[in-house]
Symmetry: C2
């Protein structure tokens, strides 16, 4: 990011009628928004949250509380506007774009669905790589394409989100592989599995990593071996938005797995990211530490879909509004110091 | 609060299309809103933030970075809509009501100002009590009256706020007196004073407390001895809103001093309160611990005015919207577990 733009924006904020720095992180948001977009007054009036849906072969191993069909069922729920992300995106004034990047279901006559299916889910990473190199690249490209489309449409703020029964499993596998952590350290209950199922989930991830031994320095190798199509699409969206200078709010655990892949590939993308919240999933903080992102909210969320991104959007926007609308000491006739 | 209503609301949430409990604190907000208001679907469409302004005699002791005139200057800034709280309240869809409860300035022809001046500021608590018993009661009544007016107008969510040069000093004095803390433990930089001024501020509070020795078990005695008119009005607003079953978002350090007085008088008011955020002021966490409130946001804020309350409002509302708008497993045809 342009250090001069950051400093100039801080000076503008310092002239506003408030003690220096007293709006805390809102000031950070304002400065970063200006530096990311290159706009003196970032226009965040159009906002979109991308909810990428995909299935996971590893659900064969009994890693989730819910059956695999729920992924497709939830896609219909998103399209009807009844899911958590729909409610919270409406509240934030953002649009939800539901992308089928890999659901094991044929969606026909689904108005509103973005059809970008790469495969009908990943393969079980306990028996082979989750994705081929081509599938991985194709899913990344879905995200990159959608970012370019956002730029063309004038969308000023993007949120990530996902739906995929079983997808905390590849997310834990990714942070374990990249960060070199014990699987048990970064693996948690997902939708709410009990102790025995958690122990099984940890063993499943250990088996997958032992089978593939992906090189931690090669994030795309990790992604293909144990990742997911929606995770790849999120990584692509993050890379694409950074390239297009669009700020991105990264949702929770699974979204941050995607952002982690992107930031391992290109560390500079971190400058374009905002971490929506601290998830209940224990592996999340290891991802946040590695990407250097400080979460905005801590509300004990663990739903995903983009719900945390939707909740954080108004806070990022608040930074832009402070910059645009607050009076200076001079304008207000207030004695500075 | 009605435990049955809390439990019934949790059951409604448990039928929504999400893993149990996965919306974390939003679920807590939803349950509490129903129990506070007694409404199955709380109506938060009308929201108001009260910014109580007052001056402080203790500013004679050089406790603040800004001169006393700034209190009145900021009142004009609020009325013109240029202050931080105006910007953030507009963003949250809330109205700002600016109340002169004790500013050392004659406000004439000030459209929009709520004229409820009790005195032209407090007295210097180093030389005598900050307020008389009558002044304390009058300022409390201002808040109680305004809560009753909110009820009459159908305001569904109230936020507290304040402006008063020097008012972190009485706030630190209050938590030191009530909690039995060392003054140095709960006193911080306010608008941004340097080390020497902070050392002086601590000594000033120590002198005031040594002079009055208020009984920690008598919150109104503490309030009169070392408090402030805006702090008393906030205590009254909190008491009044609880009595009227209106949920209240308590802003930062100074607002929480008011809420602390109210909750020491009537511990049940805590059930009606939401703590907007964790302030940078070090004494704030002691207040939050004592009132048992868990802050919603942690954004390094230390501006006051009601800015934190404005930022937290959409999050409280999000709880209500989840309850109203999310589809159930049955409605969405999603397989539960």
């Amino acid at each position: 990011l342009d250090q001069q733009l950051l400093a100039q924006t801080q000076t503008r904020l310092d002239n506003k009628t408030k003690p220096l720095g007293s709006l805390g992180r809102l000031e950070e948001f304002a400065c970063r928004l200006v530096a990311i977009t290159g706009q003196e007054q970032p226009d965040l009036s159009r906002k979109a949250i991308f909810t990428f849906a995909a299935d996971h072969g590893v659900t064969e191993e009994g890693v989730s509380l819910y059956p695999r069909e729920v992924t497709a069922q939830m896609v219909f729920n998103f399209l009807r506007g009844g899911a958590g992300v729909n409610v919270l995106a409406r509240h934030a004034g953002a649009e939800v774009r539901v992308v089928d990047v890999g659901v094991d279901h044929d969606f026909e006559n689904c108005p509103g669905l973005v059809h970008r299916k790469v495969a009908r889910g990943t393969r079980n990473f306990c028996t082979g790589p989750a994705m081929t190199t081509d599938e991985t690249a194709a899913a990344l490209l879905v995200g990159i394409d959608l970012a370019a489309q956002c730029k063309a449409e004038g969308i000023g703020l993007v949120g990530t989100g996902e739906m995929g029964i079983g997808n905390t499993t590849p997310s834990s596998a990714i942070i374990a592989a990249i960060g070199g952590f014990e699987v048990a350290q970064v693996t948690h209950r997902g939708t709410g599995i009990a102790d025995q199922a958690l122990a099984n989930k940890i063993k499943v991830i250990e088996r997958g990593l032992a089978l593939h031994r992906p090189d931690p320095a090669k994030p795309l190798e990790v992604l293909a071996a144990v990742g997911g199509l929606e995770i790849a699409a999120i990584a692509g969206l993050v890379l694409g938005c950074a390239a297009e200078r669009i700020p991105v709010i990264v949702d929770g655990f699974i979204s941050t797995a995607g952002a982690l892949i992107a930031s391992e590939l290109h560390p500079q993308v971190r400058d374009y990211l905002f971490a929506a919240h601290q998830s209940v999933e224990v592996g999340h903080r290891f991802m946040l530490e590695r990407t250097g992102l400080r979460p905005i909210l801590d509300l004990d969320l663990r739903l995903g879909e983009g719900t945390g991104a939707a909740l954080a959007m108004p806070l990022i926007e608040a930074g832009a509004r402070i910059l645009a609308e607050m009076a200076t000491f001079e304008q207000a006739g207030v004695t500075g110091h």
